[in-house]
Assembly symmetry: C2
Homo-oligomer: 128 residues x 2
């Protein structure tokens, strides 16, 4: 880890402290990790397969951020080969449930959104 991370965080904190947590929670991979862990604890590779299309780097980064914020618990067992389980903390569980609600809402309203888009695109391609 180099200094740029700390600087970035300091910058974002300066703008508005809670915005940073909100961004972690609503980030592309943060959302998927939290929702997945609502199901049960997962191992690193297991989580990676469950989510799909996520690189090791991004999953590692996402998990570390969420762990640091106290939303995810990391349990590294001292065995060979290594085994690491990730689970939600009580705090993380609260966050995950809200994220899931939002995701479910989005799914429910998807039809309306699609129709709105079609109408928008039609309007734009027309003369008006």
């Amino acid at each position: 880890m180099d200094v740029s991370e700390a600087q970035k965080d300091a910058y974002a904190e300066g703008r508005c402290p809670y915005r940073l947590v909100l961004e972690h929670v609503t980030s592309r991979w943060g959302v998927l990790v939290l929702i997945q862990l609502l199901d049960r604890p997962y191992r690193f590779s297991e989580l990676r397969r469950a989510i799909g299309r996520v690189s090791e780097k991004m999953l590692t980064q996402t998990l570390q951020t969420l762990e640091r914020d106290g939303l995810v618990h990391r349990d590294a067992k001292p065995v060979i080969p290594p085994r690491v389980d990730y689970s939600l903390t009580p705090l993380g569980h609260e966050a995950a449930e809200q994220i899931r609600e939002l995701a479910l809402w989005t799914e429910r309203r998807m039809g309306q959104v699609s129709r709105a888009r079609e109408e928008y695109d039609t309007r734009k391609s027309a003369t008006g």
Copy 2:
């Protein structure tokens, strides 16, 4: 607008349709716009000042995306100088309320998150 936008959307849609809407709603500026409009309708420049630190480009882009998704209503009055009011649609109101709940939750839990971070950083800088 060139083709890359449509391609990006097609790609994201391919992954998971509702994820795209979720990303619009939880995007950096999307969150702030929705929460602000929960208060009352805003004009473009007014909104820009209220949010602060957002470039014209990003605000325009965010508003267009949210309008296309049917979450924000754009009312352009044919006057000189131009006057454009932005407000939430019923659908956008639903989204905004959930986003606000999430933001409020984050604010409430900020203390716990900060303590978790300190503990994490202490643990990392120590021998363990």
